[in-house]
């Protein structure tokens, strides 16, 4: 007797959900910018599609003997639904950034600041813009990278 179609749905759902959840870890690899931009959407949508397939296919296992198959397929589904919810929460949480309406805009002058470098020495933005480079030329620009910190 051929496998019922919905069993294939379950297996596809399993593979798609797992791959979708794993996509949350791609950020740690050095992947092209164009890909990273879409990654949050991939990590949100792909596991949801996978879970829908899983749920659609679960019925075929529900009718199956032996009973351990029924239980195992349900347990796997519950775990993957949980991980998918976590992945979706990660998507929402990662977008909870402030509006930064008062941040310097294109063409505006930025405020100066003086802060300690890694040796404890005070450095200002003006210093960075005026200190000659190794080739004794004045720097043309400074790239300011504000980041969340290292943890």
């Amino acid at each position: 007797m051929p496998e019922p179609k919905s069993k294939a749905l379950y297996w596809w759902g399993l593979v798609i959900t797992v791959l979708g959840i794993l996509s949350n870890f791609i950020y740690f690899l050095n992947v092209p910018e164009a890909l990273v931009r879409w990654l949050p959407w991939v990590s949100l949508i792909v596991p949801i599609i996978g879970v829908l397939l899983l749920l659609a296919g679960l019925r075929s296992f529900w009718a199956s003997v032996p009973r351990w198959r029924k239980i195992l397929s349900a347990v796997v589904t519950v775990i993957l639904v949980g991980l998918t919810a976590f992945s979706a929460w990660g998507f929402v949480h990662a977008r909870e950034v402030p509006a930064s309406a008062g941040a310097p805009k294109l063409g505006q002058k930025v405020p100066d600041f003086t802060l300690a470098d890694t040796t404890g020495r005070s450095v200002s933005l003006t210093d960075l813009l005026s200190t000659p480079l190794a080739n004794s030329a004045r720097p043309k620009a400074v790239l300011l990278v504000f980041y969340r910190g290292y943890w």
Partner: protein, 90 residues
Amino acid sequence: MAISVDTPEESRDLCRKAGYTFTVLSDPKLDAIRRYDLVHHGGGPEGHDISRPAEFLVDSSGTVRWENFAEDVRVRARADEMLAVAHKIQ
């Protein structure tokens, strides 16, 4: 150069591990971060205030020539993108 709320010691640790040679500044009191309106309240791992990710290319007159604000904290400007805009500055 880079700015975060990390102490100089933590930043030194990061530079040593990652091999960074650019200037890394510490803003534990969120002085500059507040002035640039980048404070992410409770955004740190222990619920402390940190900076949101943001990048500015500032020319020698102190004017913003390019900027980027991450909509998703996991999607930051990439080095190749920032180098490309920096090369356009004369």
